[in-house]
């Protein structure tokens, strides 16, 4: 469990303290995939680097499994960092070492593994990230997705309990992003590893995260289960992110809504109700006519969801709404 207790970070610039992270309280549970989204400069990069103290905190306490890591001395900190893997946007592999040597590197640094042990572990990790036949290549000979797989294998080498992902898929194309995310989800499930990932793509959060924190201007502005934050965003920044990920231009969206008549509702289906043929029967029972303004069906991690924006005319609106709510649909009156 990672607990932030009033953690803050500021940089000294020309004698003035510029805050990068305002005092923040946060808890990340063991074994969950925790996403942090924000625009560049929102402080997410700082936040993730506080977890392994690559950036020392300027205030507050960080407790990891009930140990206050901000009190560690240099040697304790080095030992602790071995238990926290990290992957990066630009992979940060050593260009002078082969794939196998890159993966072996953290184990060699730890100095507690025998040569044979390292060799076996490297083979095991190569198999895990499906790069068995690339062991003797140099990073420059690999594609971006392969490089990130090497990065993941390297991060897992010393059997960490936490994996930090710093924009790990931002330099990859959509297909490669998919496969890297799938690998991360697999690792999370099979090894029970806690994953903290930062990203500026809400889509990444939607695919793999259990919970998410949205950051803006060095503050966590919204935090919660991905489905809640995603389907019912409260803070304007969160709303922007959700719209962005659905490729909705929020201004055009407003204009579309203004042009339609009647009552506008946003329906959110989750889980099994997503697949039920509900609208027709509700329309028949209540006598309302509806037109669909926008809609989408997708998945949040493993849960299917649907979201429809409808405009309703005529009939008995109250009957329609209570029928929808009875069917486990979240109804939000937009206008």
């Amino acid at each position: 469990m990672i607990v932030f207790d009033q953690v803050q970070k500021s940089y000294q610039v020309g004698g003035r303290a510029i805050p990068a992270l305002h005092p923040t309280d946060m808890t990340i549970e063991t074994g969950e995939v925790f996403g942090i989204v924000g625009h560049s400069g929102a402080g997410k990069s700082t936040l993730v680097r506080l977890i392994n103290l690559l950036e020392p905190a300027t205030g507050g306490n960080i407790l990891i499994d009930n140990e206050n890591i901000t009190r560690y001395n240099a040697a304790e900190l080095r030992a602790f960092r071995r238990k926290v893997g990290m992957i990066f946007q630009h992979f940060n592999l050593l260009s002078s070492k082969t794939v196998a040597d890159n993966i072996a590197f953290p184990m060699k640094l730890a100095g507690i593994y025998s040569k044979a042990k390292i060799r076996d572990r490297v083979q095991e990790l190569l198999a895990r990230v499906s790069l068995m036949d690339q062991a003797d290549k140099y990073p420059s000979q690999l594609s971006g997705g392969q490089k990130q797989r090497v990065g993941i294998a390297r991060a897992l080498a010393c059997r960490p309990t936490i994996l930090l992902c710093d924009e790990a898929t931002s330099a990859l194309d959509p297909q490669t992003t998919q496969s890297v995310l799938r690998l991360l989800a697999e690792i999370n499930k099979e090894l029970g590893l806690t994953i903290v990932l930062i990203t500026h793509e809400m889509d990444v959060v939607r695919r793999v995260c259990d919970r998410v924190a949205v950051m803006d201007g060095g503050r966590v502005v919204e935090m919660g289960a991905v489905s809640d934050v995603f389907l019912h965003p409260k803070h304007p920044t969160t709303r922007d992110f959700v719209f962005e990920s659905e490729s909705i231009d929020s201004q055009e969206h407003q204009e579309d809504l203004q042009k339609s008549n009647g009552r506008i509702l946003r329906l959110t289906f989750k889980g099994e109700s997503t697949y039920k043929p509900l609208l027709g029967s509700v329309a028949r029972a209540s006598g309302v006519d509806f037109s669909i303004l926008s809609g989408r069906i997708d998945h949040i991690k493993d849960t299917p969801y649907g979201q429809l924006t409808l405009s309703l005319v005529g009939g008995d609106l109250d009957v329609a709404m209570s029928a929808l709510e009875a069917a486990d649909v979240h109804v939000e009156v937009v206008r």
Binding site: N92, L93, L94, S96, F105, P106, L109, C158
Partner: protein, 221 residues
């Protein structure tokens, strides 16, 4: 051919070439041995680096700059008392080596500093995140990553030392430069001058070629 090169004493040329080789070889060795740690320290104590130490950096940087800004011909002369103290003579091959190292080491140190700065900061960060100590970061990540740049630096330093070694002929340093000055310049034996210059050119060409090959071999980018 005989008439054209009538003044050229080939055995003498052979000895002088060998002396140049020894001067460059030894002074390169000591320049690298002294310059590498200085370069690493310059890098580490620099701004926003692992062991940021503004005062140490300023002092080190100042010393390096002083040695680098003194024209080598002056450095040769200024160093004479120190060389005598160190080696017992300021003449010949041995006497030339201290001033050559004094000129070569700071030059090489700057090249090392520059090539270390070329190493991606992300790699240092990743190595830190693995729990590496500063020593491990230097030897495990920084130096291997900067190796091609450092080899290129050694090549440039070696070539600079060839020209420095030739200059040391002025204060009786021995080698091809000494020959060129004593015979080619002071006795107007143009043929000797031509031969020594030609040999120096060949020497530099060979050094550059070896350096380039090594850089290519160690570049994995």
């Amino acid at each position: 051919m005989e008439a054209l090169l009538s003044n050229v004493d080939w055995p003498e040329i052979g000895i002088a070439s060998w002396d140049t080789l020894v001067m460059v070889g030894l002074s390169l060795l000591f320049s690298v041995l002294a310059g590498l740690p200085i370069g690493v320290l310059l890098f580490l104590t620099g701004k926003r680096q692992l062991l940021e130490q503004p005062v140490a950096y300023a002092v080190l940087s100042f010393v390096v700059n002083v040695l680098r800004s003194v024209p080598f011909i002056i450095l040769l002369i200024v160093m004479i008392p120190f060389t005598v103290m160190l080696i017992g003579t300021s003449l010949g091959v041995a006497g030339a080596i201290p001033p050559l190292v004094a000129g070569g080491a700071p030059f090489f140190a700057r090249l090392v500093e520059t090539s270390l700065r070329e190493v991606d900061r992300g790699i240092i960060e990743a190595t830190q995140a693995m729990g590496a100590s500063v020593r491990q970061i230097i030897f495990g990540a920084l130096l291997p990553e900067a190796l091609p740049g450092i080899i290129a630096g050694i090549t440039v330093t070696a070539i600079t030392l060839v020209s420095y070694a030739a200059m040391s002929g002025v204060i009786g340093g021995g080698g091809l430069g000494d020959l060129a000055i004593r015979f080619g310049y002071q006795r107007f034996q143009t043929d000797v001058m031509v031969i020594t210059v030609a040999l120096l050119v060949i020497f530099v060409q060979i050094l550059q070629m070896i350096g380039d090959r090594l850089v290519l071999y160690y570049s994995r980018k």
